[in-house]
């Protein structure tokens, strides 16, 4: 059983990397990777929120939605918990750990529109994962996303000094770059068959 959990963890971090294989989280990916500090800050915040979110939504899905046949409402309910949790975390952090909030608080607000935060609970629901499998997916996605952010940030910081054609400056060249990194990540496929 632990082997399966570990498989899911590695798969979601490397093989089915949420950014490079599933195209998710692009929203924030291009936004915070201009500087290494923002990328790292977002990595921590995202992984923490993702883990709590996955557990919360798993509990709601398995103990409230399935018994009452509310499966078709999962879109509405999951995004509801995301919004509510982010709001609660925002308020709590301001009171309990103001120094931490000052550093990382801004990323919390951005996470609400992050596609991955919604995708992980939806995947957990569709595949009927157990609690530990869901946590593995969440942690794996957090790790994968962090790797993506840090790799991209380190390249983009150097990119500022490169001579990019005017039409390609900004997003277009970043997309092409992401494609190249995705090509590298393609090498992981087939490592584990899930």
């Amino acid at each position: 059983m632990w082997q399966h959990v570990l498989t899911i963890f590695i798969a979601s971090a490397l093989i089915n990397n949420f950014v490079f294989s599933r195209y998710l989280g692009l929203c924030i990916f291009f936004g915070v990777t201009k500087r290494m500090e923002t990328a790292i800050g977002m990595s921590f915040t995202f992984t923490a929120v993702m883990l709590v979110e996955a557990v919360l939504n798993w509990l709601i899905y398995n103990y409230v939605m399935i018994p009452y046949s509310l499966g078709f409402l999962k879109i509405v309910i999951f995004i509801g918990t995301v919004a509510a949790f982010v709001q609660a975390a925002d308020t709590m952090m301001k009171k309990v750990a103001p120094a931490l909030y000052y550093k990382l608080g801004i990323y919390l607000a951005l996470i609400v529109t992050n596609c991955i935060i919604l995708a992980v609970p939806l995947l957990n629901a569709d595949e009927n994962y157990t609690l530990f499998e869901s946590m593995a997916l969440a942690l794996g996605s957090g790790l994968g996303f962090s790797m993506a952010l840090i790799i991209m940030a380190s390249i983009r910081e150097k990119l500022e000094l490169a001579d990019v054609p005017k039409s390609f400056q900004g997003l277009p060249i970043s997309f092409v770059l992401t494609g190249l990194i995705a090509l590298a990540f393609l090498g992981f496929s087939g490592m584990i068959t899930l």
């Binding site: 291009f30 078709f72 939806l122 039409s167 092409v176």
Partner: protein, 209 residues
């Protein structure tokens, strides 16, 4: 965005001036994912068109009843409801395609473009302009997806909407995730260049969700 802007202008705006994908660079996440084929891109575009228009219409109808303090959660709730509708409809009538893209259809709810249009336009305008704005933006999205889809499917599989056009598969990489990113970047770059060369625009897409 006044009430007096002609409806035709609104429609054109959504397709060209403020095209969600190539100009505003909003809501890219699922957009790039589903364009490995023209048919997928088309269905995704239709789904987004539906959700955008219906959300704009609903928000416009309810704009005088929603308390400003809870307006963002209300817009999200409205969007989520319409996404659930299109999700159920698609899983019933287009079962095969839905199996591939089901997750991305559900993620339409996280589209920043829908939320921002509801906030910036539908909450301040009457029914008909909001409807046209939704249709315009949705059409812009649909056309962008189809453009990407044609590019990727033609180069990657040598086919169009499933029917084989070329005898071989030129660049298989195009239908994989890498190809998606490349196609997107190249498209954006070319459109920027066209914009600068022929329309004297600034030719830069802003970053966003």
């Amino acid at each position: 965005m006044s009430n007096n802007a002609s409806l035709g202008t609104l429609l054109k705006n959504g397709i060209f001036g403020e095209n969600p994908v190539f100009r505003l660079a909003l809501s890219l996440c699922p957009a790039v994912a589903v364009t490995s084929g023209v048919k997928n891109g088309f269905l995704m575009g239709v789904a987004v068109l539906f959700v955008m228009t219906m959300t704009n219409v609903t928000v416009s109808l309810l704009r005088n009843f929603i308390n400003p303090k809870v307006r963002i959660p209300s817009y999200v709730f409205i969007t989520a409801t319409w996404v659930t509708v299109i999700d159920q409809v698609m899983s019933a009538y287009q079962r095969a395609v839905y199996k591939e893209m089901g997750l991305y259809i559900m993620l339409i709810v996280a589209f920043a473009i829908i939320l921002s249009r509801a906030e910036m336009f539908a909450s301040k305008n009457t029914l008909l302009p909001s409807f046209v704005d939704g249709v315009g933006m949705g059409l812009g999205f649909l056309l962008s997806l189809m453009l990407l889809g044609v590019f990727r499917e033609f180069l990657g599989k040598g086919s169009f909407w499933g029917t084989q056009v070329l005898p071989a598969k030129p660049l298989l990489i195009m239908i994989m995730p890498t190809g998606g990113f490349f196609a997107m970047g190249l498209m954006m770059g070319w459109l920027n260049w066209i914009d600068r060369k022929f329309f004297g625009g600034a030719g830069a897409s802003s970053g966003g969700h």
